[in-house]
Amino acid sequence: MAAAAATGAAAFAGDRIARIFDPKTSVQAGTKLDTVKSPLSTTGEDLTPYQYITNYNNFYEFGVEKSDPAKNAGRLQTRPWTVTVEGLVKKPKTFDIDTLLKLRPQEERVYRFRCVEAWSMVIPWVGYSLSEFIKECEPLGNAKFVQFLTLADRKQMPGLSQSSINWPYSEGLRMDEAMNPLTLLTFGLYGETLPNQDGAPVRIIVPWKYGFKSAKSIVKVRFVDKQPHTAWNDQASNEYGFYSNVNPNVDHPRWSQKYERRIGAPILKQRRQTLMFNGYGDQVASLYNGMDLRKYY
């Protein structure tokens, strides 16, 4: 029995090693980032292993299956890469990715990540507050929302033709949400640059909202005065609202949001209660004072 278990464990380890070295599924990361600690980092949670964070992804530009991004994102060219800033700003600007990387010190921020599909992870992201970047963009006073657009290039992204999403992927935040220090302009995870399948070379992370709000592989940031259209809201507005705050009291039409499945946990310990605002209520609940969160889901 013990021998069988040992053989099983060896086979499993071998499989894991093979996955790391297989060029098709290998993660496209590896550049170490120097990070500083942050008081905004979540404590008291077990980190989800790197292997899951990089092999279980929703990134429809690379296919609809969770394993597709790890297989297909190797085609994405993340250098050279620029982020264009336009709309209601003092002056349109274009930032090179290497400039963005050095704009502020990179912080390690552990955040819970809750997908609208009721699974969750705990991820040590690397980045700095989006507000720091927004200051560099110099938005005008009438800018009320900020929109993020993801690259949409058929040559690099085989998933674009697989689903009926209105490409390029568009997401948005209200200005005060974007300026909240928790909202992270993200360049890495586990101390290294982002693997392609996790949204390289730059994405945002909004930890109190469902994962799809956190746009990946961003090429354009647009400051606007009206609520921008967003990809999943275009696709099914009754299921994916503009706000999409993590909220155990507002069910998705097709399933309850009261519980979530923690990825990588043993099967009988996967299920756990979902926290209001994903546990970040102290920092963000005041953004929604007086709003009916059932209506603005």
């Binding site: 092999n55 969770k66 699974w119 696709q235 946990a265 996967q270 299920r271």
Partner: protein, 217 residues
């Protein structure tokens, strides 16, 4: 097809239907103990799709037997496999339902009732399962005799509704824009449409030769 070959083939079908379940149980045990990712990063979702897809595939296989027999009369011995495929489909459906009641809902009956009444994809899934229950209960030879062939057959036409409800459940369960249920839908549609088509075709040629061809001496 000799009786001995049938017995041999039946053993193979049993193995083909049970081996995936044995594999699942073994890896379930590993996933809850030493190897958390034995069933992948999201084991509950894995078990759900594994048992759900298994149910639909077995249902479709059991529904394929009648049209195949009619098109290829030499294969009419396939009828001897229909009951076991149907029962295995029901068995997988029970595993699928157990996954939902146990792993998803942790036996929270209020949550389950709330789900069934409010979520159409769960309503469709539970409906499909409920439609299969009377069919499994009346699958014995004794039931066929007791009910009489005609009535038994009429009752067992519920399997068409169960399969449709199952596929609808699949479509309503996946995100909009996801087309994974497409293949099984096409196969089921062909198998269901094949029945009236074959009826139509088998009626037509019988009437033709009688009127147009002169008697041959």
């Amino acid at each position: 097809m000799s009786n001995r070959s049938i017995v041999f083939l039946k053993a193979l079908v049993h193995i083909a239907c049970l081996a995936p379940v044995a594999w699942l149980v073994w890896n379930f045990w590993r996933a809850s103990t030493t190897v958390p990712d034995a069933l992948g990063p999201d084991p509950i979702a894995f078990v759900t799709f594994f048992t759900g897809k298994g149910t639909l595939r077995l249902l479709v296989l059991s529904l394929a037997i009648t049209p195949i027999r009619r098109v290829i009369p030499r294969l009419s011995w396939l009828i001897r496999f229909r009951r076991m495929l149907g029962l295995y489909a029901f068995f997988y459906a029970c595993l699928h339902l157990t996954t939902y009641v146990w792993l998803y809902s942790s036996f929270s009956w209020s949550a389950i009732i709330n789900d069934i009444s409010r979520r159409r994809f769960i309503t469709a899934g539970v409906t499909a399962w409920l439609l299969l229950v009377p069919l499994a209960l009346t699958s014995t030879t004794w039931s066929i005799r007791k009910l009489g062939g005609k009535r038994w057959q009429a009752l067992h036409r519920l399997v068409y509704l169960a399969a449709i409800a199952g596929v609808v459940h699949y479509w309503w369960g996946v995100k909009s824009g996801v087309r994974t249920p497409f293949a099984i839908t096409v196969v089921l549609a062909i198998l269901l449409l094949a029945r009236p088509m074959l009826n139509y075709l088998s009626r037509r040629p019988q009437s033709k030769p009688a009127t147009t061809q002169p008697a041959q001496l």
